[in-house]
């Protein structure tokens, strides 16, 4: 939940706190327009200069030949679609994790869930000879699920002063264990280590093939998440109030967590751990839409996609040649945001 979470003792009358549907629709339409612009920019911009008329021509004639056409159809377009999918998945996952744990710092990367997914992927590569993104996906799903359960169990039982900090510390500790185990496993196989090091930064480059394999899982997760807004609204009023309204709280929480983990696993299996996207997207969505999850949930998907695509474009353009991986760019954007959140008066117990 947000830093200024509504106290359970005086639940606000639900209709008043809700975003009006006309405002919500306007927000979603605006977000989609910005997202569209980001997609266009991501297709048009890159280290290789292709003039806008040329881009339009290639897009209109998909069967064209030539190097520019090749770059566009096999690299930039799949890369953009992957950014769109992964960003939306991370945004929705971040918002759902924050709403379910009532923790404004929750993010699949910060809570160590992505490291858990990575750990299982490495185990699969080494011991089960699994290659191919579908195999990675099931491993990542198992790893993300187990790690989230562990982080939640440890984080809610800490003596760290606040459950907000407890979850973050549990995430940091588990991420450290996971990355040590990963190193322990791959350290003698330099090829695997090099591959992993490449993957562990989180990037969209050269992953065109990944898209087809991960798309069904990501789309299923996003479609499952969309109707969850109403349930999250009810849960945010506190467990007792939710129970009073006839919601089966435990079942709803478990389902929500399962969807959030599914989204995070799909994203991680596709591009590697990318921290801070879920965190920033969820907060942007809530700043725009307020406390109503029916609107902030689709908005956080749009914000996540805009953020990831934007960071990817920036990473492509910031250096003249070569590029900065998107995971590094999102850390550069996300860290000041995280610090700003951590500085808020209500967040940490003073």
């Amino acid at each position: 939940m947000y830093a200024t979470s509504p106290p359970a003792t005086s639940p606000p009358p639900p209709p008043l706190a809700r975003t009006s549907s006309s405002r919500g629709t306007a927000l979603v339409v605006t977000a989609c327009a910005v997202l569209f612009l980001a997609v266009v920019a991501s297709i048009a911009l890159g280290s290789r200069d292709i003039s806008p008329p040329e881009v339009v021509r290639i897009l209109l004639h998909p069967d064209g030949t030539g190097y520019n056409s090749h770059v566009l159809w096999t690299e930039r377009i799949p890369r953009t679609l992957l950014g769109l999918t992964v960003g939306a998945a991370l945004g929705a996952s971040g918002l759902m994790m924050q709403a379910l744990t009532m923790n404004p710092l929750a993010d699949p990367g910060i809570l160590g869930v992505e490291q858990g997914a990575a750990m299982f992927v490495v185990l699969g590569i080494l011991f089960l000879d699994i290659t191919g993104v579908t195999g990675y996906f099931w491993l990542a799903l198992a790893g993300a699920g187990i790690t989230s359960a562990l982080v939640y169990l440890i984080g809610t039982r800490t003596n760290a002063g606040s459950s907000t900090l407890g979850l973050v510390l549990a995430g940091v500790a588990l991420a450290a264990v996971m990355s040590s185990l990963i190193t322990l496993l791959v350290v003698r196989d330099e090829a695997v280590y090099a591959h992993l090091r490449f993957w562990s930064v989180g990037q969209l480059t050269g992953r065109a093939k990944v898209l087809d394999e991960i798309l069904p899982f990501a789309v299923a997760g996003l479609l499952l998440a969309l109707p969850f807004g109403r349930t999250l609204n009810v849960l945010s009023m506190g467990e007792d109030a939710a129970r009073g309204l006839g919601v089966r709280v435990e079942r709803a929480q478990l389902l929500g967590a399962a969807v959030a983990v599914l989204l995070c696993a799909a994203a991680t299996a596709a591009v590697g751990p990318v921290a801070f996207v879920g965190l920033v997207a969820a907060h942007c969505a809530r700043m725009l839409a307020g406390a109503d999850h029916r609107w902030s949930l689709p908005l956080s998907m749009a914000c996540g996609a805009i953020l990831l695509i934007g960071a990817d474009i920036a990473g492509r353009l910031v250096l003249g040649h070569g590029e900065i991986q998107v995971g590094v760019m999102t850390a550069v954007v996300g860290t000041p945001f995280f610090v700003w959140l951590a500085r808020r008066r209500n967040l940490v117990r003073v």
């Binding site: 606040s162 500790a173 322990l184 003698r188 490449f198 940490v348």
Partner: protein, 365 residues
């Protein structure tokens, strides 16, 4: 503790006879208790020293790969052999063992300084991101200007001090809040790690060993330059820490009392923070961010000799931890060879979890 003894010293407040007798008896008990604890401290230091010498011998004798005739080990250790024995013992194993020992001591000292100042076992240089800042600074120089003399340690210290300044400034808000400090540190260490990761993904395959050292921490490839850097650094840090011992002691009574006792609290606080950052950064510049040593050394020392004496013992514990982890990392069946930092993280992170899970009734901070 010292204040208590001073205020109950005989002659300071002459009272009625039974009360004075009682006070004398209490004082005698306190002094006896203190003597017993001093003996225990001395014994612990002795045991740790023996342990360290044993580990040092094990590290030089066993050493991981390569065979050296046992008869050659001792002369080679003093540089009195040539050829393979000299190379293995004097050029590889000795610097490695000494680097592990000295860097462990520096990490332990840094952790104890922070834990004593901030009064929270979680607020150590690696958790609040100072080791990550040092690693980022060192990695920058290593990749962009490797020829600079003493560039790596200087850049590491500079990086850690910049990060310390940022973390400190960003977590100040009407006083220093420990949890905000930890959160801000976790956030900023994220960006430092991403940056270091990025630098090494540029540097490509051939520098994997180097990359591993800067991302995980390893004493592999240590040399005598590193050892002398660490030794000089440790000596300077210990001297400074000894000077800061009294202000730290009075600050543990609370800022108001400490000011009353003549300590300049803000100056002492900045000095301790900078010294801890410098110690951690020096160690990081030579062996990389070996995880969790600064976190667990202090609490282990406190377990051994009590919280008020843990400060001096923590460097010994840190040295034993890193050297022991390195002997294991080189020789343990199935897993060796691995970077030393992997083992300390595998030991330290569960301890960290235990530390945040432990419930102390009534504990507030």
């Amino acid at each position: 503790m010292e204040l208590l003894i001073r205020s109950t010293a005989p002659g300071s407040t002459p009272g009625s006879a039974p009360a004075s007798a009682l006070r004398t008896a209490t004082l005698a008990r306190l002094l006896a208790d203190r003597r017993a604890r001093s003996r225990r401290t001395a014994l612990t230091v002795a045991v740790l020293t023996v342990l360290l010498l044993g580990l040092l011998a094990a590290s030089v004798l066993l050493g991981g790969v390569g065979r050296v005739d046992p008869a050659d080990v001792l002369p080679a250790a003093f540089g009195m052999r040539t050829g393979l024995a000299d190379y293995m013992i004097f050029r590889i194993r000795m610097p490695r063992a000494l680097s592990a020992l000295l860097s462990g001591a520096l990490f332990g000292l840094a952790g104890a300084l922070y834990q004593r100042l901030i009064r929270n076992p979680l607020a150590t240089p690696d958790i609040v991101g100072i080791s990550a800042g040092a690693g980022a600074g060192a990695a920058t120089v290593l990749l962009l200007a490797p020829a600079l003399p003493f560039g790596t340690p200087l850049a590491a210290v500079a990086g850690s001090l910049v990060l310390l300044g940022l973390v400190y400034a960003l977590s100040l808000r009407g006083g220093l809040n420990t949890y905000r400090l930890v959160l801000v540190g976790i956030g900023l260490s994220g960006v430092c790690t991403a940056y270091t990761n990025y630098l090494f993904s540029l540097a490509d395959q051939h520098s994997i060993a180097v990359a591993m050292r800067w991302l995980i921490g390893s004493v592999n490839g240590a040399d005598w330059t590193g050892v002398s850097t660490l030794a000089v650094g440790l000596a300077v840090c210990v001297l400074c820490a000894a000077r800061l011992g009294r202000p730290l002691g009075s600050m543990s009574l609370g800022d108001d009392l400490a000011t009353g006792l003549g300590t300049s609290v803000p100056a002492a606080r900045v000095a301790v923070l900078a010294l801890g950052a410098g110690a951690a950064a020096l160690a990081t510049s030579v062996v990389g961010p070996i995880g969790f040593v600064s976190l667990i050394s202090g609490p282990i020392a406190a377990r051994l000799v009590g919280a008020d004496r843990a400060f001096g013992l923590a460097p010994f514990v840190g040295a034993v931890l890193v050297l022991g982890a390195d002997v294991l990392a080189q020789n343990a069946p199935l897993i060796s060879p691995v970077p030393t930092g992997v083992l300390t993280a595998l030991l330290g992170a569960p301890y960290f979890v235990w530390l945040i899970l432990r419930r102390r009734p009534g504990a507030t901070s």
